[in-house]
Symmetry: C2
Subunit: 112 residues, 2 copies
DNA sequence: TCTTATGATGTGTCTTAATATATCTTTTCT
DNA sequence: AGAAAAGATATATTAAGACACATCATAAGA
């Protein structure tokens, strides 16, 4: 399983696409090779925390641990934040939704 | 830097203590050696995402990526969730506050 | 078509997380 | 004090992340 890694990987990919960055562009900003970013986004690696944090920083995301009981409430807020605020941002919606069509394969070993 | 690792490590430690678990007890639940949990909580290792996710699962935490703009709002909700709901839970507050006295050393290499 | 941009994939090397195991220190009891 | 529990630390081994680098496949544009 480890579908949580799939979720995180997908979040990274969507955030990158929302920002209109190619893997190579992100690679230069964050200092991680494009080949590795590809593997990360496809869930092909069990990345280290430092890599995730660096990616998150450049993508203006914050990695946090939320108590399960608070998850629903935070989820609502986050979805709200991700909603484009200006009509000129509808473009983002398109990029975003096309991104969510992508299936993550996640060939990580089934541990647990 | 990588103070975000310190933050995550501290969150794990506090969640464990709030649940009244020893490192060894958590070790058995999650299948990670106590020695490694110690290193994780002290920020002495740059742990892998699977380890963090496994720990979070057992500690009933969810690892999420929050847009920076939504961070304040989610922070408020999370603090609310962490507040003990019953008077009988004041015990947790004590454990929790004693935990926060601990300084993390974080001898991780200064990258960036 | 040829080029260009993008993402995916392969290989070899180095580093280090994760493991097993043991031990040591510190704290907390009785 | 001594015993027990808890956390920190040491060592050796194994597994795999991260890297550099090249290359492949595909799609988009000229």
């Amino acid at each position: 399983m480890l579908e949580s890694i799939a979720y995180i990987a997908q979040q990274i990919k969507e955030a990158r696409e929302t920002k209109g960055l190619s893997q190579r562009a992100l690679s230069e900003k964050v200092g991680i090779p494009q080949s590795h970013i590809s593997r990360i986004e496809n869930g092909a690696v069990n990345l280290q925390l430092s890599s995730l944090i660096e990616l998150a920083r450049v993508l203006e995301l914050e990695l946090i641990l939320v108590p399960k009981e608070a998850q629903k409430a935070t989820g609502a807020i986050i979805r709200e934040a991700q909603r484009p605020k200006k009509k000129s941002d509808i473009h983002n919606q398109l990029v975003h939704s096309s991104a969510s069509k992508n299936r993550a394969k996640y060939q990580l070993d089934d541990e647990d």
